[in-house]
Amino acid sequence: MSAGPTQESSSRLSPRELEVAGMVAQGLTNREIAAKLFISERTVDGHLEHIREKLGVNTRAQVAAWVVRRESAVIAGPAAVPSTGEAPRGWALAHPRAWLAAALLMALLAAGVGVLRLTALPPPVIQTIAGSTCPNVVYPGGCFGGDGDQTAVRAQLARPTSVAVDSKGVIYIADYGNGRIRRVAHGVMSTLVGSGKSPLADEVLGISVSSDSLGYVSTVVVDHHDQLYLLTARDDLLEVWTVDSSGFMHSVVTLGPAYITHFQFGPNLPVGGLAITQAGVLFIADRDGNRVVKYDGKLSPYAGTGEGGYADGGDAQSARLDWPIGLALDSKENLYIADTGNNRIRMVDHAKGTIRTVAGAGEFEGNTGDQGPATQAHLSFPFGVAVARDGTVLFSDTGNHRIRAITPGGTIYAVAGTGRWGFSGDGEAALEAEFIGPEGVALDSAGDLFIADTENQRVREIPHLVGRP
């Protein structure tokens, strides 16, 4: 280990820059650093620019790695994760590989060896599989283009909110801003349904969605028979559809005025979520209604009273949710709910009908708790959730621009994203990547994680993230 260059670099950084670099290594975002140091985010940006320049590096991860090397030199620190799994502050939170190694260790300890198999070395990489930058369009919002292109990564999306994958690897995307369902097969992008007449093309208030529009296309889900389901909203109706191979839509169930009082539409606010059991029972998250509804031929309340808020630990129907969006089922048909407005992940026990919190501690958003008990961690507006066969819960920590995971033992850790918003990292370790407000997540049977990187107008993939049992 060479202490010389590290010390030399160190001497080039001002005390403030060293302080900022240390906080970067702790995984803090610029906003958090700004708040801690009582300076503006722009000032933090400036410090970081100087730090990168002085160290001759380009990324936050490289800054963090430099801090790791420096601290290692100073304290003759560890060359590997300590056996306790408690890495020194500034080390374990700094280096992506260290994060992943520590996470793996914690996961294995918590879940039992062999239950969860993450590919630790080399670390999981991330890649874009659909979507690209919009030419001549003022950011944000996305645009439409690329149908028929042989390379879906050249196509354009507009705020994709949800993604689903069937057993043949066909990818479906809720192209929310474009009012379409897009389909990617063999790398070719196409429009499956939707005229392209999006309600977002108008003001989001006070406008009735016209009949030739799909309305707000929030969610796509594929069942065990590769049947595609959609969740859309038009006017006062929340609708579930199937789509046949010819692209025709068939209504499954509509939540009308008896269930839906009103919607609050928004440019980046899905209307709810959807999950389907092997037997075809539907669970529908009615975001604005603060509840989850079950449909097994008839509609019935499943979780949430309808009154927004947080009440936990008892009968699910007596619980209070706050803007639930993402839904996912585990192998026992326990239902996981991204309780977005409560900054929590909730779980309804299928057998008991009770609800409990599995992640999230605070009334307000935050970004804490990695490698600790998930119920003590702070989240920021989780929008999407997926469950692996081994029970690992993956969710989009949307406001933190990250993907996080909860082991079956209840430990939370980061899977992807630096916490800083932006677009970067394709071809690199997922923990070094940047997202912007990722919403929907989906797992395929191979353990590949698909992420609707909503505000980046892309769908991204982390191949082989979760091992098959």
Binding site: R31, V204, G206, Q264, G266, E365, H378, G399, E455
Partner: protein, 401 residues
């Protein structure tokens, strides 16, 4: 870690101190808050500056220290309603917050107004213009004011105009200033009928009439059928409920041959539009457009100019200004004034939120830089922000309303 930026400007301090929002300094006795997209590529920093400036000018109210708490609803490069709603919940949780300058945009208002209403918080917006926020109309669906105000309390006020008011103002200008009486209207807006209704009613007050009304597809480029019909009906003006971003101003160039002596009238989306300047061509007709804000930098009013000059001196960069900057400054001053009266009405003690709401509702002819403000029973300004621009010599020029 708290995500929202919380800049607490304690009265009298020149610079804002950034603090986590749960660690608001105990110094202020009373806090005025805002929620703005501050981390986006085109941040609302000028609005934040304007509010902070007004509060620094009046660091105490009736002996109580006044502070400013600024929250950020950015999620990446855009605002986000989830964060915006939570930010309002944060500030509601601090009992010292007696007023909010906002909501900033109408989509945010839809999620923030119910929170503020239940908490009985005084909210005063410089910039929300959606008709449905204060009115009940079948077109509004789930955003009717009755749903946004679940308690029925009128706690949300605005000095910005409900959008359709532009139709009324345009008609008034056409009739009173330009002496026009026969107007042909084309409409490309989904909610354009609201503008048309306002236009129609106001024109009728002057004995005028809408001689032709047609709904056109947004993005229409060939206006000749409409213009020929307007000419056949002897229209002396054309009013467009349209946007320059969707070719709405191509009609200006086409009027030269098809309706050469008529005047063109427009609304927000046309006024100050660069696309309109380009599409109107080199010899446009007389062309006026209403705009839902007031920029007092063009004012020569001696009661306004010194204050504006002082503001400009303190904020010299072009980036210090955006739409509604001075409206935000006025809103902060109106809120401070309401808090002052509420303190007096409460025997010199810190008032309750309800008392501030009552005082704000009672605002009467408050003279600001952007206008003189009182509020009606819906919470709308009796005389909301509005100005008029004329396309002249290849640019938009402010003209007296």
């Amino acid at each position: 870690m708290i995500r929202a930026i919380a800049a607490l400007m304690i009265g009298g301090l020149a610079a804002a101190a950034c603090q986590p929002s749960t660690n608001v300094s105990s110094s202020p006795d009373i806090i005025i808050a805002s929620d703005l997209p501050l981390s986006v590529p085109d941040p609302a920093s000028p609005i934040e500056q304007a509010i902070g400036y007004a509060i620094r000018q009046q660091p105490t109210v009736e002996g109580f220290k006044l502070g400013y708490w600024s929250l950020d609803d950015s999620l990446g490069p855009d605002f986000n309603q989830v964060r915006g709603r939570e930010n309002v919940r944060r500030l509601i949780a601090d009992r010292r917050v007696l007023g909010m300058i906002g909501p900033y945009t109408s989509p945010l208002a839809v999620v923030q107004l119910p929170e503020g209403n239940v908490a009985g918080l005084a909210m005063l917006s410089p910039s929300t213009t959606n008709f449905c926020l204060t009115r009940t109309d079948p077109m509004c669906k789930g955003t009717n004011a009755s749903l946004l105000r679940p308690t029925g309390l009128i706690n949300y006020f605005r000095i910005s105009p409900p959008d359709p008011i532009a139709g009324k103002v345009m008609a008034h200008y056409a009739a009173a200033r330009l002496n026009l009486r026969r107007v042909a209207i084309f409409n490309e807006f989904s909610d354009g009928s609201l503008y048309v209704r306002e236009f129609h009613n106001e024109l009728a007050n002057f004995g005028g009439q809408v001689v032709l009304e047609q709904d056109l597809a947004r993005g229409t480029q060939d206006f000749s059928p409409f213009l020929k019909e307007a000419a056949a009906r002897h229209a002396d003006a054309v009013a467009g409920m349209a946007s320059g971003d969707y070719n709405g101003c191509l009609i200006a160039a086409q009027m030269n041959t098809l309706l050469p002596d008529a005047i063109l009238l427009g609304i927000d989306g046309i006024a100050l539009s660069d696309a309109c300047i380009k599409d109107a061509g080199p010899t446009p007709p007389k062309f006026f457009a209403a705009y839902p804000d007031v920029d007092p930098r063009t004012s020569s009013d001696p009661s306004v100019k010194p204050k504006v000059d002082a503001y400009v001196k303190a904020h010299p960069k072009p980036s210090d200004y955006t739409v509604y900057t001075f409206a935000a400054y006025d809103c902060a001053r109106i809120m401070i004034d309401a808090i002052r009266r509420a303190i007096r009405n409460n025997g010199g003690q810190v008032p309750s939120r309800a008392q501030v709401v009552t005082a704000l509702a009672a605002t009467h002819d408050f003279v600001g830089l952007t206008g003189k403000f009182s509020f009606d029973a819906n919470g709308d300004a009796v005389t909301p922000l509005m100005s008029m621009y004329q396309l002249r010599d290849g640019g938009w020029v402010s003209v007296p309303l």
